[in-house]
């Protein structure tokens, strides 16, 4: 097997869509191209500049660290979603998995398992849901959006039945360190975890056969299969990874709030897709990366933070979020056409 076939050539590694030629003069790049390619970075800069003028506390180190802490959970879900989006698939069940994983972890603790064993149970729940998603989508060829939406309902109901609809509290005191603990007294573990995972996944995407196969699975899986790449198992891995990262998020969230709710992850299914696409990962597969997702998540985090700091009425907040979402989707479609 060679790694040449999936490797896109040229400057924009991992961005196999060819750069549109400039209007005149052969291969010269248009001046606006880097801007279009990195809309989220631009948006982030604009938001940060605007924020620093509108609020005198915005640019304080503590506030910036708070933003990171607030979005690190969504960020971890969004990393998994990014990988799956690269294969041109979604996972709507992450919402339910976030709730379920926390519940399984706490239930394991209540039943006498230790700290690490209980976390392993929680992650295991995520792996199982991921396998289930992958198997259903790959075996039936059904729409992944709808399949995972259905799985989400089942997972949510399962979480409710496991707790008999009650709120549970973790029994191991050290468990809260995962969500609340800080390195050097200011950097939360969940932030470190989010950033490290993004780096590792970016490396996997760029430098391993698995990573390159993920891109090919989203671009042209037939060609990839004919070239000897193991497309099916790659897609399965993407589903499992996405679900496991959602489970990790659920465990951290439970540790942060010290209590479980089956609906804990509601909204994260859409928010994680928004964050990934905002960062520049395509809804249509094959284009993007996890470092980009950090930027997408940061934009959402800064936006949420500013809405509160400026005390924007909640009705108007919905408008702002809706507009950002629409802008992102439209920009993605436009980029795809170009």
């Amino acid at each position: 097997m060679t790694t040449q076939s999936p490797e896109p050539s040229g400057r924009t590694q991992g961005d196999p869509n060819p750069v549109p030629p400039a209007k005149s003069g052969g291969r010269k790049r248009h001046w606006s191209e880097p801007l279009r390619n990195h809309t989220a970075v631009l948006l982030l800069i604009v938001l940060v500049i605007a924020g620093s003028f509108l609020s005198d506390v915005f640019l304080t180190p503590r506030n910036l660290l708070n933003i990171l802490w607030a979005v690190s959970l969504l960020g971890i879900v969004a990393l998994g979603q990014t990988i799956l989006l690269l294969t041109a698939r979604f996972d709507m069940s992450v919402a339910g998995v976030v709730g379920l994983a926390g519940i399984v972890t706490v239930l394991a603790q209540i039943n006498g398992f230790g700290l690490y064993a209980s976390i392993a149970f929680g992650l295991g729940a995520g792996v199982l849901v991921g396998l289930c998603n992958g198997a259903l989508v790959l075996a039936t060829g059904a729409n992944p959006f709808l399949v995972t939406l259905g799985v989400n309902l089942l997972v949510y109901s399962l979480a409710l039945s496991l707790t008999e609809s009650k709120t549970l509290t973790a029994t191991i005191p050290e468990f809260t360190a995962l969500g609340r603990g800080q390195l050097f007294g200011f950097l939360h573990y969940s932030v470190i975890l989010f950033l490290t995972l993004a780096l590792i996944l970016e490396f996997v995407l760029r430098r391993t056969i698995l990573g390159r196969t993920i891109y090919v699975a989203g671009l042209n899986e037939v060609a990839g299969g004919l070239s000897g790449l193991r497309i099916q198992i790659t897609k399965m891995s993407a589903f499992v990874l996405c679900s496991t990262l959602a489970a990790l998020t659920g465990i951290i969230m439970t540790s942060r709030t010290n209590s479980t709710v089956a609906s804990a992850g509601f909204g994260m299914e859409f928010d994680s897709i928004i964050a990934a696409v905002l960062g520049g990962t395509s809804l249509f597969g094959g284009r993007g990366g996890t470092l980009r997702t950090i930027v997408g998540v940061a934009v959402l985090g800064v936006m949420n933070n500013l809405l509160v700091l400026l005390n924007v009425p909640s009705e108007a907040q919905q408008i702002a979020k809706g507009l950002v979402f629409l802008a992102v989707v439209l920009a993605d479609s436009a980029l795809r056409r170009s």
Partner: protein
């Protein structure tokens, strides 16, 4: 019937929504479209209903639209096709349920609104409202805040989902209490955390960053109040910010007892469940019932927590 069986039924309902549960018992068949099944207050309502159902031979099906007004309408329609005797609705959106409850009334099914009422026009199609009124809960919290702050200070509110009945009324009730007491309290921030403890934590964190002085925070329910408390503790501002909630769940009552929280409006949710089953039974027997049946709200503060602790759920 045990909760486990009920939960199992909930799962089965999701899978076989169209297959009705046959009614073997003498009592009414009740179809309950509540909201957010694992919220502690809903759990307590459901427990009250299940316990009392045993006394009246009632069969209850619980359906959970999880905050989705559209899903709620579809679930009410499912209840109509199941030909339940009584449909109990906790409105996600007061106006959105009107067409569905109109249909129920036309099908000869009694509709009881629980905890979150419908609009005045929708009320024509319902038999009764049972619950604690969210306005009263907000009012009770407002009174507690006025007392705790001696009538003056800066207050932030961490609200439920924007536009929902409980969200709107709890803030309105609180403001009315401020006004009636002639308090000079400044409402510095009103920000949504969508009934999520984790969101309340991050929103409160930002509120604390923005305002160097916050005298009290009102979380629209106890989980959110406790989430806000985590943010306050993380910044070491426990002495400055007094935390208030609504519900009276066990964790909140414990936090009030230990001095971490200042007060909560205890909603006697178990009673709401009990009253609902009794009303459904009476309706099914062709008896007249009162249009409004209210369960009491009790202000739980460090002074009264010993008295109410046993009722916290």
């Amino acid at each position: 019937m045990s909760r486990k069986k009920l939960s199992l039924r909930l799962v089965l309902c999701a899978a076989f929504a169209s297959l009705g549960a046959p009614a073997f018992a003498q009592g009414p068949t009740i179809c309950m479209v509540h909201n957010n099944a694992d919220h502690p207050s809903i759990t307590a309502v459901a427990k009250g209903m299940t316990d009392e159902a045993a006394n009246f031979g009632a069969e209850i099906t619980f359906l959970d639209p999880a905050f989705d007004p559209v899903k709620q309408v579809a679930m009410i329609e499912d209840c109509i096709s199941r030909q339940a005797n009584v449909i109990v609705v906790n409105a996600v959106d007061p106006a959105a349920v009107v067409p569905a409850i109109t249909k129920a009334k036309e099908a000869g099914i009694y509709v009881i609104m629980q905890n979150a009422d419908t609009t005045p026009e929708g009320k024509a199609f319902t038999e009764a409202f049972i619950g604690s009124q969210s306005f009263d809960q907000g009012y009770a919290v407002g009174q507690m805040i006025v007392k705790a702050l001696n009538g003056t200070g800066k207050v932030a509110v961490v609200t439920g989902k924007t536009g929902q009945t409980d969200t709107v009324n709890r803030t309105a009730g609180m403001e009315a209490a401020f006004k009636d007491a002639g308090a000079t309290i400044e409402l510095i921030a009103v920000q949504p955390a969508d009934w999520s403890k984790d969101k309340a934590l991050t929103v409160m964190q930002d509120i604390l960053t923005r305002f160097p002085q916050v005298d009290a925070v009102f979380g629209h329910d106890d989980p959110m109040a406790l989430g806000a408390l985590e943010a306050i503790k993380a910044q070491g501002r426990e002495a400055e910010v007094k935390v208030f909630g609504v519900n009276g769940n066990k964790e909140a009552c414990a936090a009030i007892k230990s001095g971490e929280m200042y007060g909560t409006a205890l909603q006697l949710s178990y009673l709401v469940g009990v009253y609902t089953v009794r009303a459904a039974y009476d309706l099914n027997q062709g008896r007249l019932i009162s249009k409004t049946i209210l369960a009491p709200t009790a202000p739980v503060t460090p002074d009264t927590v010993a008295q109410w602790e046993s009722q916290c759920w």
